[in-house]
Symmetry: C2
Subunit: 194 residues, 2 copies
Amino acid sequence: MENVFPGLQKILESTRQGIHDFMGIITPVIENSKDDHERLYWHHIYEEEEHRLDRINILLPKIEAALKEPLDPNQGEFIRLLQDISLEKFGLHNFLEHLDLSLFSFKDTEHEEAIQGMRNMTDADYQEIKQMVQDLNDDYEGINLSAGTPTDEKEHVTGNLKIDKYQRNSNQKELESSARVPKRGLTVGSLKNI
Amino acid sequence: MENVFPGLQKILESTRQGIHDFMGIITPVIENSKDDHERLYWHHIYEEEEHRLDRINILLPKIEAALKEPLDPNQGEFIRLLQDISLEKFGLHNFLEHLDLSLFSFKDTEHEEAIQGMRNMTDADYQEIKQMVQDLNDDYEGINLSAGTPTDEKEHVTGNLKIDKYQRNSNQKELESSARVPKRGLTVGSLKNI
């Protein structure tokens, strides 16, 4: 378990910075929103990321403490730490989708490049934490980490509710390319100028 | 603590039904989406609610068990149960915003009334769980439940990032009326027909 902690700490620290940067980009969008729908849309995304930030700020010191003094795998504290990590795995998946949603709106703006950079970083972080949680699942059978699995990765969910690009370990360039070239003729294209 | 459990159990059971109903309404919207943006938007909301459902399905048996055999407030299990309840408080706030976002899109459709009903129920449930968590916070000082506080209720966050109607204990009719009569001239109005 402990050997995944340094990598995990690094991911959580870098995504924490990502949340700050992303909140900075969407703050003026909320403040200058043109109507109630637009305001609620961005407020809602902001609030979810701020919530994730609060959780990470509680989780990071626990990981740092466990790095100094290893936890007993038979204790409740250890199991809950694994469940918290699983929740942050879902949090990273969620952030990835927030960034992809934002790319539709911020395309051809000054923020597109920064958001695309966060998107690529988050995708790499997500693939890494997914593998970590998988390894922990294999090592500690019987611990219920199912609440960290997004719809995209559920075996019993049919493909009609999934998004292809989130289902597989994907090539970075392929992802980048598909995110950079959205299809034309979007019916929700008016979000683009938000 | 135990005296809030029956009410909490009732709220979690009814919101679980609400999640099922809401997922049923948006499933065909995902399946029949017209483009990648629309598909990602509804898929993302669906996935967050399914995640909440997974968590509730793990939490409910714990509450039922604690009702039969009270937990020791000095044990880690008790503290984690409080933190889980706090997380579901945030989950209800989030559901409220998902429903309000949906009301913009499903206005004047066959689903508006059902969503409005869920919205009113969720608002009442949220006010109730908020009070429960407040009482638990008062009773068990020193337990960090801060990760359950949405942006709308944070004291250090300025009003420019909040949504008025989520900030106060509100009159049901007032909320219903404001949700039923959205302002005209929405710039994201094309979402309305999703």
